[in-house]
Symmetry: C2
Subunit: 393 residues, 2 copies
């Protein structure tokens, strides 16, 4: 039987997210430079494996085979494992999970997971084609079922079933953009989406307005992971990976179940909590996939943070804010930081590491956090991916 | 410390490779049906994880987020790990390596690795764009440095340095197309490229002719892997994974070293043999990445099967054929089977499994094989990926 090695994130860095006048390779390089600056004890020769999270460089950056490209840009020569992982909006977390498995199995000792996405192009027509590829293209994508209309349907249905209001959606946006104020890597800030104007912003897909939607963003982030035998070489405050869960129950929208009860997330989180031997009530902070405001509300419910239908009230009552039950998206979320697909999952892990080290801006620091959850959905919320972290010391 | 679980391939299936009038999802489905037919003891509920090897569905099939798409088509609901891995021409092997790490670590018990590529499109202009994305696009790809001219340069240089001849290149083509005759899944056969006409076929990139090049192919293949505790449930002839090695030393061609001495392959194979505790001399069969005839010749040398410069003579003397030192590419290779990028590495593993079970066509069966090597290169031979298998019984 397996005596799995314990694995921790021992450092990380995030580039400035936004509309960046840089290429895909430059973003990878910038994340690498940031990582080596953030982890002074790390030398390039220490890194035996590299996992690259990237959703669609083939369409966004006209570049495939990005794993060796990232390695070259970061000054790494992986000699154990090198690969790119893709799971659309969860590509970054997939890279971390791969690094986790590689180190836990003993196939790798020190691995870097880097996430990169360059989404803004001179012509956004190509970018829109790329986004339509994420859904089941012949059945759903070509009929216009991209992310905004899908999540708008979720919101409409949640309003119908539970009386969720536009004000409750706006409460998610207000919270996450407020946290983004305190995150220098974030693309947006409170002044981009002032709280008193959220309900008057243009509609993207009713009822979702501009402030309810994450954006097409250029960004990159990197973390380094190792096993218990080497952790202390790199940090005094490791973020231990204690649990993981994923679930996929459909792809074609015709096979979807309830729009408002994400059964896949219930299953994936049950496995994540089981493997970490905790419950949702133990969490001090959670980085949840708020690609749209409604997503975060449905996620509260599927994670068991509140009963079904009460997610809107949960955020409006401040229970996912500082001073509440737990803090959700202190980084600023996808709404505040932007959503460079492959980078998001890695940037969330960087946030967990820095929160545990208690070195983020005091306006977003969670007091003395011990357990953290990271969640990404992908596609039409048909796949859910989660990791549970425990603070070491 | 880690007591890694032992992992084996316990079954597999390959669809008919060629120019197929089927879509990407249909190819995934066909591979899944083949797998369940080939492994009668396998139930969909047994499979906790799915790893999808696919190089460029975003460009070839206008589809991203292919992992849940493949899961749906194969009737699987992965509840541990689901992801797609990409490493251009080595994407399939990357999926197997990921499954290996996941099972070895205990994160998965039974995993499927499926490789799918649909490369033939009504207009091949899009397919050519896709292939140009594999190289460093702004520096190399846009200047025409795609695969055929790159490997033509390797061949020219090898001829200049060592006196390698067109006849020796043709000997690789003849051998692999002859083996493909005995493989019903292969795209090409000896009669497509008759041995007495090989040196008169049209030039693709001098000195490489049509018979020296693998092709754009539609195909899919799947394997199932598990740990020692469950192997006997599925097969009496497991193919144990005993070693793995990868190396990446450059991406931009300006950073390449020798064209004819593939240092990355020397390093990756040293690691693969070290981890398996064997030497090249122990191998009974090898599935080598013969994307072009010259590749197989350079690979003999970097693997240490013969001294530098003697790869041409090695094949011409029949030392990589039945009755020689070992049998290279009994499946028919990429030259004979075609090269559906993400499927190739999986189809090679299926061949190893079936060779060990001694159930392939007698014209390609290696007598009583015990050790097998699978090799894939990707890009401009800048990344090398290897796995070593041992026959169980």
């Amino acid at each position: 039987m397996s005596e799995r090695r314990e694995v921790a994130v021992v450092g990380g860095a995030t580039v400035k997210f936004g509309v960046r006048a840089t290429t895909w390779p430059e973003l990878a390089q910038e994340a690498g430079l940031g990582l080596f600056r953030a982890v002074p004890a790390l030398a390039a020769e220490d890194v035996d494996s590299l996992f690259v999270g990237a959703a669609e460089p083939e369409r966004f950056a006209f570049q495939s085979h990005v794993a060796p490209l990232a390695a070259e840009q970061m000054g790494l020569t992986p000699h154990r494992i090198l690969q790119r992982t893709e799971l659309a909006c969860a590509s970054g977390q997939s890279a971390i999970r791969s690094a986790y498995a590689a180190i836990a199995s003993g196939l790798s000792d020190v691995a870097v997971a880097v996430g990169v996405e360059k989404m803004n192009l001179p012509s956004m027509a190509e970018a829109n084609t790329a986004m339509a590829c994420v859904m089941d293209r012949p059945w759903d994508g070509v009929h216009g079922a991209t992310a905004p209309p899908f999540f708008a349907m979720v919101a409409q249905r949640h309003m119908l079933e539970y009386g969720t209001t536009e004000e409750q959606l706006a409460a998610v946006s207000e919270k996450n953009h407020r946290f983004a104020n305190a995150n220098p890597s974030a693309q947006f800030h409170e002044k981009t989406f002032p709280r008193d104007k959220l309900l008057r912003l243009p509609l993207v897909a009713p009822p979702l307005r501009l402030g309810d939607c994450s954006s097409m963003t250029d960004g990159a982030a990197a973390v380094v992971l190792t096993h218990s035998g080497l952790v202390r070489r790199f940090t005094d405050s490791p973020a231990w990976i204690r649990g993981t869960g994923q679930y996929s129950d459909f792809h074609n929208l015709a096979n979807a179940g309830s729009l408002t009860d994400w059964v896949g997330l219930r299953r994936a989180s049950a496995e994540a909590f089981r493997s970490a031997r905790i419950t949702a009530a133990d969490l001090d902070l959670a980085e949840l996939h708020d690609c749209f405001t409604i997503s975060e509300i449905v996620e509260y419910e599927a994670l068991g943070l509140c009963p079904s239908g009460e997610g809107g009230r949960f955020v409006a009552d401040g229970r996912s804010d500082r001073g509440g039950d737990l803090v959700v998206n202190p980084r600023g979320g996808l709404l505040g930081c932007g959503h460079p697909l492959g980078a998001t999952g890695i940037a969330q892990a960087v946030e967990v590491f820095e929160q545990f080290a208690q070195k983020v801006d005091p306006r977003r620091q969670v007091p003395d956090p011990h357990w953290a959850l990271v969640h990404n959905l992908s596609g039409s919320a048909n796949v859910h991916s989660l990791m549970v972290y425990e603070r070491g010391g």
